[in-house]
Amino acid sequence: MLKIGVFVCWCGSNIAATVDVKQVVEAVKLQQGVVFATDYQYMCSEAGQLIMRNAIEEYKLDGVVICSCSPRMHEATFRKNAERAGLNPFMVEIANIREHCSWIHKDVEEGTIKAIALANAAIAKVKLNAPLISGESGVTKRALVIGGGIAGIQTALDIAEAGFQVDIVEKSPTIGGNMAKLDKTFPTLDCSACILTPKMVDAAANPNIELLTYSEVEKVSGFVGNFKATIRKKARYINTDLCTGCGDCMSKCPSKKGKNEFNCGLNNRPAIYIPFAQAIPNVAVIDPVQCIKITKDKCGLCQTVCSAKAIDYKQQDEIIEREYGAIVAATGYKPIKLDKFDEYGYSQSKDVITSLELERLMNAAGPTGGKLVKPSDGSHPHTITFIQCVGSRDISGRGKCYCSKICCMYTAKHAMLIRDKYPDVNVNVFYIDVRTPGKNYDEFYRRAVEEYNVNYIKGQVGKVYESDGHLVLQASDLLNNEQILVNSDMVVLATAIEADESAKKVASMLTASIDTNNFLTEAHAKLRPVESPTAGIFLSGVCQGPKDIPETVSQASACAAKVIGLLSKAKLVTNPCVAHSDELLCNGCSNCANVCPYGAIGYETKLINDHGIRENRRVAVVNPALCQGCGACTVACPSGAMDLFGFSNSQIMAEVEAICKK
């Protein structure tokens, strides 16, 4: 008879307030096999863990049940603790009486009864637990970073610095991402290109980094340490080894009506183009939809002018298959579409622009050469008004429910830069709250107000319309309790940001979970912020949630540290909760292998001794290094030969029985 010990945690008052822990202790003592039961304020504390270790030794416990918080929180803690006391870590089960009980029920009697039921289910299960020993699997010493913005670049650089191979897969023709489009950066007003492009060059020059630009990840299989990715390298129609980036082709190309993506569509680019001067790789790309040669088989001018003979109209997409030990999602963000915010007149007036468009208008490499002019007529603006929270903090369904986090600061930056460069321009900012948590952030915002006389008005704008050649904003001035009309030459919308459209697909491929806003979910909101719940998948930058550049870079480095930690391991300890087949019961029917997502089940013809009958049988054999323990095979198996360690048929049935016991 197994000897079971039960430990009921108060979790301070988190559990004890709604669950009568003493009563739980008394109730579990009545369960067959329970030789020791106690309660303690914090089981996870060192003192609590000591109680558990002492009891294991004193009562020679074979199994332990902890009634506490979610196993997702402390299962690992208690298993390690059991191991310290000489008990196999897999002889520990957790009854989740906090998240699944005390926190959601108010009535003490109800909470206590449920806690007892959950404890009994865990006791029933632990009695059927078997000591398990973790196996080992190898680690491919190469990382994949999906996304080549500042987050991806920083993560890749750090990983490469540690001596591991990294591939950056970027869907656009150049790395750099959104940061490359920015003019200056807050709160120090560095030039964005000046601080980003050296990093881009470093990434290109680092022998450990391979840039796969104009490429997309199509398929990912495998598991931590052993992923396999299929990457599509889209046809650029340029032989990148030959192209020198001279740009001759760009000037000769007759098809010049392509929207310049880099300048947010504020001007045009030719069909063959280099996205921007500092693009990495600095090679051209042909837009196949726009190119006359590719669409109509006419022209071919670029091929004639290219002295490097780099142009290849017949180039095909290339498929690359590679193995990786870790994968980083760094898919970034984009501003939301403003088609649902007609009141701001974005679609009506050219002089209503987004903040990212303003970045391009103020950038020396932008469409106006850095001269701030009204997009409608190229004249000098006299008043510019900023509207904050456009689509952020919006639960009406038109925008995003969250705070986009970066807008307050970049709006202050824009206001300041404009006032600095053009002191004659009046600048208004409509705000709801100005949020500036961050080192030197509030000081920065105050400078905009105090030194640069930016006119901050608390209130939102109801509508923007054109009248007599300028824009009129009808708005609230909440502090004066007035509705005001403000004339302005330009309006800049601090547009909410959202996860890039690729995030959802990437998350699906990586089996990483995603929240309702398409931001990837971290393994723990506070304690594991750069890891996805899926082992071996890491999160870098805005794909996890809105953040500014300093925060993105620190998270990118943190992410790299986690990846390096993983890749440095010679072997990974594998989850021993894997499937296994009972050879005597196995029919060899292949149903299990059909549902296995990891190809972990193979078949062998083995000499089986079935109660004295010796015969060769085709039986399923699970490769424990490949099996991830999902258990799909156990249900596909009609004979019950296939079972799962840690979540066996009999364990789950025992839990069912315990729960249903009246």
Partner: protein, 326 residues
């Protein structure tokens, strides 16, 4: 029919003589013409007692499962409907195709002796099958019966005369004129109220004596040890102690063969309590066809059965839970 038996016997003898096969799985005659029994004939024993007549309805493919580890070569006689089972067994590696010589036999439907007797005929001495009608010789004289009225239930929803797998074909068959659509029985039940359905199954399944005939005859139920016989499965039971266990056994049995059941109808044929077990299997088949597209288990070998397959746009189970109506 008599001619067919002679042809078969002649051919099988040749196969045994020239060493193509070591054994033959066929039928042996009993005391009466209608009590034929599946049997194995060897070279040594010869084909004495071999019979093939209108009562050889049993599906012989399952007998090969136990021979998978044998080195011997077997000839087996399969009717068109039996070949689906053979394909399914090949798919699931439950038979060794290399050691099997399949003689496909043309079929025009087999007869249920109980249905003949139910028409008031007794003392039967011989039956002459003329495809459309049969002539019965009995000690009380001869009588003629319309064949369609005495066909086995499974022949009444015949899948056709095409042999899905065979090494050679003997005799020509015709698709039995089906007297009911395959899913009529299921549809009739579906049209009932939940209470009526519950009452129907309660009364049917309460007849179950857990003799396991359905399981033993079923060419899809080939587990070495059935979960209901395995003490460690937590569902083992030898008898139906409660109403629940009656249901449990038949639901799980039907579920285990779902997507693999070829609808051969053997379960209902052999049930001593005449429980219409095929109505459970056919419900799964009907649902599979409706939910995931038409699928016939055993249509060919190495198909992927619908329960180990999926599409991203499959219907949601909530469609069932939230279904309106009875």
């Amino acid at each position: 029919m008599q001619g067919l038996e002679l042809k078969l016997k002649e051919r099988l003898q040749k196969l045994l003589d020239d060493g193509t096969v070591d054994c033959v799985i066929g039928w042996t005659k009993g005391e009466f013409i209608y009590d034929v029994t599946p049997a194995i004939f060897t070279k040594e024993s010869g084909l004495d007692g071999f019979v093939y007549n209108s009562f050889c309805g049993a599906n012989l493919s399952k007998y090969l499962v136990s021979q998978i580890t044998s080195d011997k070569k077997f000839a087996v006689i399969l009717k068109p409907c039996d070949t689906y089972s053979m394909n399914q067994l090949i798919t699931e590696h439950r038979v060794n195709r290399e050691n099997i010589y399949i003689i496909g036999v043309g079929c025009s439907g087999h007869i249920d002796i109980d249905k003949v007797k139910a028409q008031g005929v007794s003392g039967i001495t011989n039956v002459i099958d003329n495809d459309n009608n049969i002539i019965i010789n009995s000690i009380y004289g001869d009588s003629k019966i319309e064949k369609a009225s005495v066909l086995l239930s499974k022949c009444q929803s015949c899948k056709g005369s095409e042999l899905k797998i065979s090494d050679e074909i003997i005799g020509e068959g015709i698709k039995t004129p089906t007297c009911d659509e395959r899913f009529d029985g299921v549809k009739k039940l579906e049209a009932m109220t939940a209470e009526e359905r519950f009452a129907f199954w309660k009364s049917e399944l309460s007849k179950c004596i857990r003799c396991n005939a359905c399981r033993n005859i079923c060419p899809a139920c080939t587990c070495r040890t059935c979960v209901f016989d395995n003490a460690r499965s937590n569902v083992a039971a030898k008898a139906n102690a409660t109403e629940f266990e009656e249901k449990m056994f038949h639901i799980i049995r039907a579920f285990h063969v779902a997507g693999r059941c070829t609808d051969c109808g053997e379960c209902s044929r052999v049930c001593p309590q005449s429980i219409p077990l095929h109505l459970l299997n056919r419900k799964f088949i009907k649902d599979i066809n409706e939910f995931y597209g038409d699928y016939q288990a055993g249509e060919e070998s190495n198909q992927r059965n619908p329960l180990v397959n999926f599409t991203e746009s499959d219907i949601e189970a909530t469609v069932i839970s939230d279904k309106e109506g009875k």
